[in-house]
């Protein structure tokens, strides 16, 4: 019955055409749907009698897996680069329009200009108030920049939280889809159309996930994917792991992330496996790309460094005006006329260390006679013995050995600590008001001894031209180290103008009981410290290194870090732009390979239409043949 065969073959052709037509229509309809992959029918010829009928076994997705994998990698990279660039651009707005009102340099220049005016007209009330206003503006500028940076850190913390939530949703959905997928019962690489739609959906989820973090994807024969982090931790299989993030409400300069959860004030991304067990992804650095990596880097590194720079600047400008270094007086006191001391007499210096505040330093230089090498020792006051011993990086001087002196147990204990530290080389004795250090002539020569003392907020007219124009929220800033860390941390956010000077601006000039109104001693000191004096800056701020720390005036330091931030933002933007070009190109390639081409579809439609007509024609011919056959009988 070959006519029947022909009829059924034509029928199968019509069915196949209809199926193909429905795919064309779905391709056309979804031409602009994100993540939609062009579908084509998978049809095979089936031997039936003398001919072959056609059967649609499934739907092929026109997917280029190589491009897809590349696209995912670059999506992670672009997510990272774009977010980082966007944050750094936002941070640029904190640094202000270069040279305009609201930029740090403008405030600083305004302060030096005001101090110059004060130095010219020390007696002028308006010049004095001018300095106060300018100092106030600078302090507020640093405060608001700190707030801006910490807000960005807070945003990063929230960003991680949101990203983790999104990632969890995506991973769950991927797992769900994974479980709905089965191999095509009819065999082959194609799938039924429902599954194809699910795969499109799932691939879209995977791409979204790749934006959040770097992932590796493997697919098995049943089209199921297993997703790993870049470092190989499995995220999704048949079940999705859960990412947890313990976000912290407030983020300030003092809140820092630590690998040790008990010390960390900020959240970590932790993966919790369905079967129990967890891995801290932040601590292990497992997430290297994507927005989560960018948020983490911003929160814990980039923004922290920017904050450190501001804190260092605030600390330096505060200390520059308030710190007074006094050289020790020669001991024994020289006679007039001078007489030679008997050989072997211990000699040294006498220092007044009674006014030292935490963080203030006794500088001590001696030459070891055995090796003829000169050594620098910095004795730093601490009031909290738990921070001892101090690292040599406690001071910015790269050549000194730092020894912390615990002042909390009275001066007798301080003497013991001093003698224990330098026993044999030198002997310390005396009182806090007159600490005498003499050498042990056989072993050492003392070259110099001096002490740096921070003037407190109330030491405004004690005869020292140095004064605490800036305070740490009303208290003296002396850079002390306590168990909470350095006093410098977050100083830029707490920097305020000394209220004693606000109440009596004449203190900008009057440094002793008998200072005349036009005396420029203090204003000249302020001007010199702001404009010309050179300081050393901690390498923790990203400028200089521990062995060769950055040295320079306040302005040159500001240039350094503002320039550095500008360059970082600029290069981040270039990186992001470049990454986006790559991503766009890949998108285009992906669209070319797997997207819907309307012309193709239309051409396909035409041929389907013709095929359909042809199949129908076959049927009608068969019909006529039957008729002829029937009428013959």
């Amino acid at each position: 019955m070959s006519l029947n065969d022909a009829l059924s073959i034509a029928m199968s052709g019509l069915r196949a055409n209809q199926a193909a037509m429905s795919l064309v229509s779905s391709n056309v309809a979804n031409a602009e749907t994100p993540g939609y992959i062009r579908k084509s029918t998978d049809q095979v010829a089936v031997n039936s009698g003398n001919g072959s009928s056609v059967r649609t076994v499934g739907v092929n997705r026109q997917l280029d897996q190589y491009i897809q994998a590349q696209l995912r990698t670059e999506t992670s990279g672009a997510g990272y680069a774009t977010l980082r660039s966007s944050f750094l651009q936002q941070m640029q707005s904190l640094y202000g329009d270069p040279g305009s009102v609201g930029s740090l340099e403008y405030s600083f220049n305004a302060l030096t200009t005001a101090v110059q005016a004060l130095s010219t007209s020390a007696d002028s009330q308006s010049a004095r108030i001018g300095v106060l206003n300018a100092a106030q503006t600078l302090a507020q500028q640093l405060n608001s920049m700190t707030q801006g940076i910490q807000n960005l850190r807070g945003a990063a913390e929230n960003g991680i939280k949101d990203s983790v939530t999104t990632a969890n949703t995506l991973m769950k959905q991927i797992a769900t889809i994974n479980n709905q997928l089965t191999a095509n019962p009819q065999g082959g690489t194609s799938t039924d159309s429902n599954t194809a739609a699910l795969l499109d959906q799932r691939d879209q989820y995977v791409t979204q996930l790749s934006q959040l973090m770097d992932i590796r994807v493997t697919t098995n024969g049943a089209n199921q994917v297993t997703i790993f982090t870049g470092s190989g931790v499995q995220l999704v299989g048949n079940e999705a792991a859960t990412l947890a993030f313990n976000a912290q409400g407030t983020v300030s300069a003092g809140t820092t992330w630590s690998a040790d959860p008990s010390k960390s004030n900020l959240g970590s991304v932790v993966i919790e496996f369905p079967n129990g067990g967890s891995i801290d992804l932040t601590a292990t650095g497992a997430i290297k790309s994507g927005t989560i990596a960018a948020y983490t880097e911003l929160r814990d590194k980039t923004l922290v460094e920017a904050q450190n720079q501001l804190d260092q600047f605030a600390g330096s400008i505060s200390s520059a005006l308030s710190d007074k270094t006094t050289a020790g007086s020669v001991f024994p006191v020289p006679t007039v006329p001078p007489t030679a001391l008997p050989p072997g007499t211990p000699t040294g210096f006498t220092l007044d260390v009674s006014q030292m505040k935490p963080g203030n330093v006794i500088h001590f230089t001696y030459t070891d006679t055995a090796t003829n090498t000169q050594r620098e020792i910095s004795f730093m006051r601490v009031d909290d013995p738990s921070v001892l011993p101090l690292p040599n990086t406690a001071t910015t001087n790269p050549n000194d050995t730092v020894i912390g002196l615990d002042f909390s147990s009275g001066f007798g204990s301080v003497l013991n600590q001093l003698n224990a530290a330098l026993g044999g080389q030198a002997t310390f004795s005396g009182t806090a008001g007159a600490l005498t250090v003499v050498n042990n002539p056989a072993f050492a020569n003392i070259n110099a001894a001096s002490v740096t003392v921070t003037q407190g907020p109330n030491d405004l007219s004690n005869g020292s031209p140095e004064l605490a124009l800036f305070t740490d929220n009303g208290a003296a800033y002396s850079g002390g180290i306590s168990k909470n860390g350095s006093q410098m941390t977050g100083l830029a956010g707490r920097l305020t103008i000394n209220n004693g000077i606000v109440a009596d601006p004449s203190k900008l000039v009057v440094y002793s009981g008998s200072t005349a109104a036009g005396d420029t001693t203090r204003s000249a000191l302020l001007l010199n410290q702001l404009n010309n004096a050179s300081f050393t800056y901690s390498p923790a701020t990203g400028t200089g290194s521990a062995t060769a720390p950055f040295k320079g005036t306040l302005l040159s330091y500001m240039r350094q870090f503002v320039g550095q931030q500008g360059a970082a933002a600029d290069s981040a933007k270039q990186l992001a732009d470049g990454q986006n070009v790559v991503l766009n190109t890949l998108d285009k390639k992906m669209a070319d390979a797997s997207g819907v081409n309307m012309d193709d579809e239309m051409a396909h439609l035409l041929s389907l239409q013709n095929a359909y007509s042809a199949n129908a024609r076959v049927m009608s011919t068969v019909n006529e043949l039957y008729k002829t056959l029937m009428q013959a009988f």
Binding site: G99, D123, R559
Partner: protein
């Protein structure tokens, strides 16, 4: 940026257009602001240098403000100094040329000039630039010199001014006897001795210092043959003080000849010396400044031989009268000058005790009893140089000094001299009295002479011109620094413009190019979407 939400093709074309739009926005912003970017990031590799340049420009602006301020201050101070120099020569001229015609206030026209000039001087020294007193040293908020009227006349009854201090000193110098603390006697018949009436006693407890008042013996000399002079020595001779100084001349047995002279030299309180020269004369009547040589009584019976004892008595009389004239004439002038000196000291020195004529020592006056003429920062070694009392930085490492104090040597000495000249007056009511008038004339002549001398420049001592020269040096330094800064600023600005500025032509051209590109993109995109098989089926 990528555009999500639509499929890849649209996104790709869209991104291209968005990127063009972004560039166009940036360029438009550059054109409107004139700056390449409004962030440090967009400023390019020159951003760090730009910060330094802006700081430099800001500093130059601050220095320029300082320079303007300083020039004004120095200018104002210089005007004062010019006027003071003019006053100096005016008063000096008045003192040299003025006669001794007293008007109804007991002063000469020269003194009248000095009086006006004194008020003017005080005004000049209280010169201000803005709120800043320029002759107060560092005490720029304090008027350096007390009001002229207070300096002259005191501040109420309790606080003495210069006139009272002069009057007290005059009385103290003159002494109760009106002889300037001189005592005359004749230890022997042929000798005349003149001595001081007060002896210092360093051995007493507490030690008694020499009185600063009155005439002081300096020397004695004579041309008389046979006469013996005794230079000032403690008399009567004693091994231990106190014995006042005295000097004497013993004529001896023979009479001096006509024209023989004896010269008595005295130190006056202001450090000047005055001589009394007495000439032996046989003329009748005995001329002024002479003493009669005893002619004896050749016609008497028996004739009395000329006696040196009688001549000595004549000498005693003549000397008494001459000392009295000296004490009431030049001593008063010298005393006034010295009173001025003491009044202008810090603290002012006053005659101690009452009545003043019996005083033997000085005491430091206080603000409660004496007008303190200078209220500014004292010109002492501890306070440093006057010029250094105002220091301004006009460049990174250049400072100028332009301070001044009204109690600097040159300013004080002129003010003091003018003040004393203006303060001294005689009693016009007594000018009818011939002796008084004679003494008054002597006083004013001695005063004129001293004023003229004190106003003349003394080598090795500061003059007002020296201060002007210092100021001129400061101004020259400011000028050269400012000129240099103008150039520095221009260079920095040019450099800065090259970093943060834009080239308008370049930007405009770019905008035009972008506009074209954007239009073309729109057109092409539109065409691309038009060209679909869909349209042709």
């Amino acid at each position: 940026m990528t555009i999500s939400g639509v499929s890849g093709r649209t996104s790709y074309i869209g991104s291209g257009i968005t990127s063009l739009r972004d560039q166009l926005d940036t360029l438009t912003q550059q054109l409107s602001s004139g700056k390449v970017s409004n962030t440090y990031a967009g400023q390019g590799s020159g951003r760090s240098l730009a910060i330094a340049l802006r700081a430099q420009i800001s500093n130059v602006a601050a220095y320029a403000d300082t320079a303007v301020n300083l020039n004004t201050r120095i200018g104002v101070a210089n005007l004062s100094l010019q006027r003071l120099v003019a006053i100096g020569s005016e008063v000096k001229g008045a003192a040299v040329s003025a006669g001794s015609n007293f008007d109804n206030t007991g002063q000469t026209p020269g003194q009248k000039t000095a009086s006006l000039d004194f008020y003017d001087s005080v005004d000049m020294l209280n010169a201000k630039s803005g709120d800043r007193y320029l002759f107060s040293g560092r005490a720029t908020d304090t008027a350096p010199v007390a009001p002229a009227d207070q300096i002259m006349n005191g501040n109420g009854a309790a606080i003495a001014g210069l006139k009272q201090v002069i009057s007290e000193r005059n009385q103290a110098d003159l002494g109760a006897s009106g002889m300037g603390h001189m005592l005359l006697s004749q230890p022997t018949t042929t000798s005349v001795q003149i001595g001081e009436d007060f002896a210092a006693d360093p051995t007493a407890t507490p030690p008694v210092a020499a009185t600063p008042f009155g005439l002081k013996l300096n020397a004695i000399s004579t041309t008389i043959t046979g006469a013996t002079v005794t230079q000032p020595t403690a008399t009567p001779p004693a091994t231990t003080p106190p014995s006042p100084l005295a000097m004497s001349v013993d004529l001896g047995a023979t009479n001096p000849k006509d024209g023989d002279q004896i010269k008595f030299t005295f130190n006056l309180p202001d450090g000047t010396t005055e001589d009394i020269v007495l000439t032996a004369s046989s003329a009748t009547p005995t001329p002024a400044g002479s003493f009669a040589i005893d002619p004896g009584q050749p016609n008497a019976t028996p004739p009395v031989a000329p006696s040196s004892a009688v001549t000595a008595a004549n000498l005693n009389t003549a000397l008494t009268s001459a000392v009295k004239s000296l004490a009431n004439g030049p001593l008063v002038a010298a005393s006034s000058i010295q009173a001025g000196n003491e009044f202008f000291d810090q603290p002012p020195m006053r005659v101690q005790g009452s009545p003043a004529s019996a005083a033997t020592s000085l005491v430091a006056g206080t603000a409660a009893n004496t007008v303190i003429w200078y209220q500014g920062e004292q010109n002492t070694a501890a306070n440093g140089s006057a010029r250094g009392s105002a220091i301004s930085q006009i460049d990174t490492s250049i400072t100028v000094q332009y301070g001044a104090r009204a109690d600097e040597q040159a300013l004080r000495s002129q003010l003091q001299t003018v003040a004393v000249f203006a303060a001294v007056a005689v009693d016009p009511a007594q000018l009818g009295n011939a002796t008084y008038a004679k003494n008054a004339n002597a006083q004013i002549a001695a005063l004129n002479q001293r004023v003229a001398q004190n106003l003349a420049a003394v080598p090795g001592q500061q003059t007002i011109q020296d201060i002007q020269a210092d100021f001129a040096g400061a101004q020259a330094s400011i000028k050269s620094t400012t000129d240099r800064q103008v150039q520095t600023k221009a260079m920095a600005q040019t450099m800065l413009d090259s970093i943060e500025g834009i080239n308008n032509d370049e930007v405009a051209t770019k905008i035009l190019a972008l506009q074209t590109a954007l239009q073309a993109s729109y057109q092409t995109t539109s065409n691309l979407y038009q060209m679909s098989l869909v349209k042709f089926l």
